[in-house]
């Protein structure tokens, strides 16, 4: 993001076309209502499952003494991971100066907001006594990574929301007069949220400064959020978690999951909103290359994470690796590693697979695989504790998720999708002013105002 802006685009005719294209799908359409109704009804079922859990306690889940972190915590790690992509796209790539990230930066930011917002709820779903949540703040210990995690997730959510909202302000002002086809309340929301934006150079100057502050601030915060999440595991001495590279291992894994989510959402936005002009094959091609890059880095950390313990084969580690490579979890493990990492790397090296539809399919597989990858990080370790497992029912020895628990997990995913749907449907999903500025700036030599 440059520190100065050429506001000439505001007088350019092309702004009207761009705004018209991007604002066309905004508003309450029938498709939107049907989709939201479907989501709400499904969510109602999940909320009922949660009611059962609150009523009966965690006994309705597959969690027992040995495996006390199951699907919920895996889901939490997944949510945090996916939300990190906001930082990767907007900050890292944006500040380096890659122009192609401009139209997709807001998509990445929407994912960041939705997933970070729900991540907190996911943790609550793992609590047998959710009404004791305030105790974290009343009696929390600064020494505990759990408190750091709560702090950093909250901070990241606020930063992501600001990073979504602030660049949206000029768009809201541009859109104000152009969304006559939408209900009144939405128009007045635009009015309020655009905080009297008048496109004055002073306003642009402040805005660019704020965005720059946020872009810089969010990098350490995003690193912290996922590193601290990895520490929840790595500060223990348990096989599979007792690792010094868990921070970067989680972080790079997060970029893989997040990039896959961005590709999926880009594809939906492009096809449903007919925005092929803005989300072009080129953007998908670049995302494909990005995925190859982050996946190779993640693969590198995977090799580190498994090769070193496998070379030393300390007893507990050996049991753990045995379970993953050839034991109980082998099928899932290899499926996840192949479909979520190795195959995508190979396929996306070819230009054909970086076209929108093929990469959308690959991205979907990767995102699902990355959810299961988190399950493989969380569960197998607990099934092999250091002390002998004895005097407990056989069913406690392994983790068997229940329907209730699966429904609650589905519910959190539905909620994230709802947030995304609302943001995408009520506000321009592609930054109008940035795209217009880019377009006029590169094609015309407008005098600076």
């Amino acid at each position: 993001m440059s520190s100065e802006i050429n506001t000439g685009f505001l007088k350019d005719k092309r702004l009207d076309t761009i705004a018209a294209d991007i604002l066309r799908p905004v508003g309450i359409t029938q498709g939107f209502l049907v989709w939201m109704a479907f989501l709400s009804i499904s969510l109602a079922g999940c909320i009922y499952a949660y009611y059962i859990q609150c009523d009966k306690g965690l006994i309705v889940t597959g969690l027992r003494d040995y495996v006390s972190w199951g699907m919920y915590i895996a889901n939490f790690v997944f949510f945090v991971a996916t939300s990190l992509v906001g930082m990767l796209i907007s900050s890292v790539l944006g500040m380096i100066g890659f122009k192609w990230v401009k139209p997709i930066a807001r998509i990445a930011e929407i994912i960041a907001v939705a997933f970070a917002a729900i991540a907190g709820l996911v943790i609550v779903s793992d609590m047998g006594r959710p009404e004791r949540l305030p105790y974290v703040f009343m009696y929390g210990r600064i020494q505990s990574p759990i408190l750091w995690d709560v702090t950093v997730v909250t901070t990241y959510l606020v930063l992501s929301t600001l990073l979504y909202f602030i660049p949206l302000i000029p768009d809201l002002a541009i859109s104000k007069g152009r969304i006559g086809h939408t209900p009144k309340w939405l128009q007045s929301t635009y009015e309020t949220l655009s905080v009297k934006w008048d496109h004055t150079p002073k306003q642009y100057q402040i805005l660019l400064k704020l965005v720059r502050i946020l872009l810089i601030l969010i990098i350490p915060t995003a690193f912290a959020i996922h590193t601290v999440t990895s520490w929840l595991f790595a500060v223990t001495t348990r096989p599979g978690w007792d690792s010094t590279i868990f921070g970067p291992y989680f972080l790079t894994g997060a970029f893989v999951a997040g990039s896959a989510a961005v590709v999926i959402m880009m594809y939906f936005v492009r096809t449903n909103y007919k925005l092929e002009k803005y989300l072009t094959d080129y953007h998908f091609d670049m995302m494909g290359k990005l995925i190859v890059l982050v996946s190779i880095v993640y693969l590198y950390f995977n090799i580190n994470e498994f090769l070193i313990p496998a070379y030393k084969l300390k007893t507990a580690e050996a049991i753990h690796l045995q379970e993953l490579f050839v034991g109980e979890h082998a099928f899932l493990f290899w499926t996840v590693q192949l479909s979520g990492l190795i195959l995508p790397i190979i396929l996306l090296l070819f230009k054909f697979f970086r076209k929108p539809f093929p990469i959308f399919i690959i991205g979907t597989v990767m995102l699902i695989a990355s959810w299961f990858k988190r399950l493989l990080i969380v569960v197998p370790t607990q099934e092999n504790p250091f002390l002998p497992r004895q005097f407990v029912p056989d069913a406690w020895m392994v983790y068997q998720p229940t329907i209730v628990e699966t429904a609650i997990t589905m519910g959190t995913i539905l909620m994230a999708v709802m947030i995304i749907t609302v943001l995408v449907k009520f506000f321009p999903v592609i930054p109008i002013w940035e795209v217009a500025e880019e377009e006029c700036h590169t094609n015309n030599d407008q005098p600076k105002v």
Partner: protein, 305 residues
């Protein structure tokens, strides 16, 4: 294929060795030893308490066969194998122990061991106790008392044993006395077992470097070995004869494992500073949104649109 046979053979040999090891032979003279008192509900109850603190962690709940996994495995007290022991056999095994079964002779007094046995026997409906006939040794002293003194110049602890005989208080001569220092996990034998002289006195050499509490106090315990003859006779005294040792409790200083009020300073500072710094920027950004709103057209005429 060859390998498989080899490992089968190995397993066979190991099993043989293990089962060979399982014979635990009690020397013949110990087999017929008997308790001097009759087992009753109160001894069984006291025995249960001793069992819970000292034995249950390995032997489990009697009758449930939930012994801990050790090689060789502990024996369930209610099992036939346990009950097949004679009283004397049990007494010997509990006092002596055999890896991994610990030695209890310094931890439990002879009376305690019999009390535990009375509890173990309560799981055997067929058991009928045989009580030892009263032995007429020790010249019939009663009310045996042991008095402990610290002889500072010689680094010795003196035990004076006396009892009443024919209603007259007099020294007990020729009795074996053991001196123990109480430690966290059981009693530590000091010096060695020694016999009283004609004055009923006995001297124990006391080590100079035995850790005491923060002011040097050590709890001492003296016991006559021959409880059958003298009855239960132990004496506990606390003397200031150890090396003062002060081990600060682990939660005294600031530490990662301590309560939040005792967070390590470096952590407190890093956490607070980081959080404050980041949130200062966040609030700055929020206030600047107001600034944006204020520099709209109404104030600023330098406009373009």
């Amino acid at each position: 294929m060859k390998k498989r046979y080899l490992s089968l053979l190995l397993i066979f040999v190991i099993t043989l060795r293990l089962s060979a090891q399982q014979e635990w032979i009690v020397p013949a003279e110990n087999l017929s030893k008997l308790s001097t008192f009759a087992f009753s509900d109160s001894t069984r109850k006291a025995g249960m308490n001793l069992y819970i603190t000292n034995c249950k962690s390995c032997h489990g709940d009697p009758g449930k066969n939930n012994v801990i996994k050790l090689v060789p495995p502990p024996v369930d007290p209610a099992s036939d194998r346990m009950q097949a022991n004679t009283d004397g056999g049990m007494y010997f095994k509990i006092s002596q122990g055999r890896m991994p079964m610990p030695t209890f002779k310094n931890i439990l007094s002879p009376t305690d061991v019999w009390v535990v046995i009375s509890y173990l026997r309560s799981f055997n409906p067929k058991y009928a106790q045989e009580v030892a006939p009263k032995v007429l040794t020790g010249a019939m002293v009663q009310n045996v008392k042991i008095h402990l003194n610290w002889l500072k110049e010689k680094d010795q602890v003196q035990a004076v044993v006396s009892g009443t005989k024919d209603k007259i208080e007099q020294p007990v001569a020729g009795a074996e006395v053991k001196l123990f220092a109480k430690r966290y996990f059981g009693n530590l034998l000091i010096d060695e077992a020694r016999n009283t002289d004609a004055q009923g006195q006995v001297l124990f050499n006391f080590p100079k470097d035995l850790p005491g509490d923060s002011t040097g106090y050590v709890q001492l315990l003296a016991r006559l070995s021959d409880e059958e003859a003298y009855g239960e006779s132990k004496s506990e005294t606390t003397l200031q004869i150890g090396v003062p040792t002060y081990k600060p409790p682990l939660n005294e200083q600031r530490a990662m494992w301590n309560v939040v009020q005792k967070t390590p300073i470096w952590l407190l500072l890093s956490y607070t500073f980081t959080v404050l710094a980041v949130w200062a920027f966040i609030f700055y950004v929020l206030f600047q949104i107001r600034a944006i709103s204020k520099s709209g057209l109404s104030k600023d005429q330098d406009t373009i649109d």
